[in-house]
Symmetry: C2
Subunit: 96 residues, 2 copies
C-alpha cells in the first residue's frame, strides 16, 4: 500500500490518533444535534442564522482553552469558523 | 450585546455546545501532540510529510464512523482534510 511500510512506532502513534479521531467524530455528531436544535429554535422565532456577538465570545473562549492545552489558538479559531460555517449552512437550509 | 437576548432554551443549548467545544479542543491538543511525534519520526527517517495511502484509509474509516453517529460523512471528510493540511504544514515546518 505504501512505499514505506510503517514501523511499530508509527503504528502505535497512528492507533492513538485513530482513537482520538473516533472520539472527535462522535463529539461533533452530538454538537450538530445541538446546533440543529438551535436552528429549529431560531427558525421558529425568525432569528438570523448567524449571531456575531455569540461567535465573538466563542472565539475568545476557545482561543483561551487552546492556549491552556498547548493547541495553536489560530488553528482553534480557524477550526471553529470552519464548523460554524457548516452550521450556518445547515440553518440556512432549514429556513430555505 | 445582541439584538435578540437569548432565552433559557438557547442558553441551555449553547452551554452544552460550549462543553463539547472544550472537549474538542482538548482532544485536538492531544491529537497534535501525537502528529508532532509522527512528524519528528518522519523527519528522522526522511519520510515524506504526506502519506496518501494512510489518508485514504483515514477518510474511509471516518466516513463510516460519521454514518454510524449520524454526522454528515462529507463534513467529516472535509474536516479531516482540514486537520491533515494543518498537520502537513507543521511537518513541513519541522523539516524546513
Amino acid at each position: 500500500m505504501t512505499a514505506h511500510p510503517p514501523t511499530d512506532e508509527l503504528l502505535r502513534l497512528r492507533a492513538s490518533i485513530d482513537n482520538l479521531d473516533a472520539a472527535l467524530i462522535y463529539l461533533l455528531a452530538e454538537r450538530f444535534k445541538l446546533t440543529k436544535e438551535v436552528g429549529v429554535y431560531k427558525a421558529a422565532k425568525n432569528l438570523p442564522p448567524a449571531d456575531p456577538a455569540r461567535e465573538k465570545e466563542q472565539v475568545k473562549r476557545l482561543r483561551a482553552l487552546a492556549e491552556q492545552s498547548a493547541l495553536d489558538p489560530d488553528f482553534a479559531e480557524k477550526l471553529l469558523n470552519f464548523i460554524i460555517q457548516e452550521v450556518i449552512h445547515h440553518h440556512e437550509r432549514m429556513r430555505g
